[in-house]
Symmetry: C2
Subunit: 250 residues, 2 copies
DNA sequence: AAAAAATGTTCAGTAATACTGAACAGAGTT
DNA sequence: AACTCTGTTCAGTATTACTGAACATTTTTT
């Protein structure tokens, strides 16, 4: 290793930002320092800097920090350059209305599912903003649909990594998951049988970019009793049909 | 000034990220280095670091960079902790339907308008994601409604700064704008008379947090012919009425 | 096709600064 | 009032981020 020109202080600072999550939106100096095994004063300086730049907000009542609105703007720039979203939405509406379930669009990003859009049936206005949500590959319909078509070494990497269980249905055995991926490749669609959220089943179909690599997936998702074997097949066919009209775009 | 413990390399790195915009989503090393008057290799190292962290994506065909999907996730965390959005949406729907125009919600953030939501009339599904968009204070309805109620020294700061013209109607004279702010305070609402986008008029009403400081504003906006004096007053009253039902929340 | 210009990339050296670690301050609890 | 837990400050040094020139690669011009 001759030269590592990566800016390490920047990587550290970013790791501070990444401590914040939906579940822990507010964190203090010591909390972050302990978690990252960094010096308190180092974390303090980073937090202060981010705050002065608008990327963190300090709550004066308890001296804790949360992510700042400047991040919304950067996210906005990303989203306004995502043409794929606009292309998919009309199809997702049709899919959602045809089967009466919520339709999701996800992209493969850094070995995770990146949620891009959720469309609800009956032209109900979508209240929930899902763009930017993330989920693991091994226990979601979208994730498994994509994982099945990733490069063998990438699949191996995921299978060898930890496979955290979310429900009692989550597949945590690499061998079992590997078999399921084979089945997904044969079927052309993936089924999430309450593996991420208990009581929710999901059918997902992947789509590919021009170079043949998997790019993302579209799913429909709802209460498990509505997803009997027949409707699973029906929904998979429905999504596949719509994706065929889109394949030329990427 | 005894000690400035702000992390300067971090501020520099962030300034690199902030070069990217909706209009210039893709930038190269030299382009950024020139703009920020930084060394090429310094910028290169920063870009490489951000890329490895997923905050920038490198286009291999032209070696240019664009903002990465990781930023969507940070933005998502911010947005999912913004309860204000969910509180306002039902009222915005009613406002939009009652007057037949688009209804906007904006917050005051760092001397700019931060757009939070846009609701279209006739329960048309909103296609455009506006959360995170920004605009100046001096030439938008939302901005002027808020500016009028900011602290005198903050107002002076904005008035003394540059007031860039967007259309031929933009108020670029600080004295004229100052008078208009007085009028806005008297009326209780602000009117944007094609000052930001030509042909678009807008009526905006501010709202305040418990400590009495201005927090944001709600507006309706549409083609100028539909905004005659009578409907301006009617729309202002409509928004004001809905805001009264919300004031206790903040 | 060759030359020139512009862009991205690498790397050794040093100038800058980010981090350490201990002390202080302040809030909250016992 | 003592204690514990936070956040904050700061001088010193060890780290490392940046400089600047050279190289590589692509694009444009001649």
């Amino acid at each position: 290793m001759p030269n590592d020109n990566t800016v390490k202080s920047l990587a550290r600072a970013v790791s501070v930002l990444e401590c914040f999550s939906q579940k822990e939106p507010e964190l203090g100096v010591t909390e972050i320092a302990d978690r990252l095994k960094m010096q308190k004063s180092t974390v303090y300086n980073i937090l202060t800097t981010f705050q002065s730049l608008g990327y963190l907000i300090k709550n004066p009542s308890n001296n804790k920090y949360q992510l700042g609105y400047k991040l919304l703007h950067l996210g906005y720039i990303v989203s306004s350059n995502m043409s794929i979203r606009q292309q998919f939405i009309p199809h997702m509406k049709q899919i959602a209305n045809a089967c009466g379930e919520v339709c999701y669009l996800g992209l493969l990003d850094r070995m995770e599912v990146l949620y891009v859009e959720a469309v609800y049936p009956n032209s109900q206005i979508q209240m929930r903003n899902i763009l930017g949500e993330r989920a693991p590959l091994h226990c979601t319909g979208l994730g498994k649909a994509m994982l099945a078509h990733m490069k063998p070494e990438e699949i191996r990497e995921v299978l060898s990594g930890p496979l955290p269980g979310f429900t009692k249905c989550t597949i945590t055995d690499p061998a079992v998951l590997s078999n399921e991926l084979e089945e997904i490749r044969n079927n052309g669609y993936a089924v999430d049988n309450m593996e991420h959220e208990f009581g929710i089943r999901c059918v997902a179909v992947p789509f590919f970019s021009m170079d043949g690599s998997v790019m993302g997936a579209v799913s429909v998702s709802g209460p498990s009793p509505r997803f009997d074997p027949a409707s699973v097949i029906r929904n998979a066919a429905l999504i596949t049909e719509h994706l065929q009209g889109l394949q030329h775009c990427f």
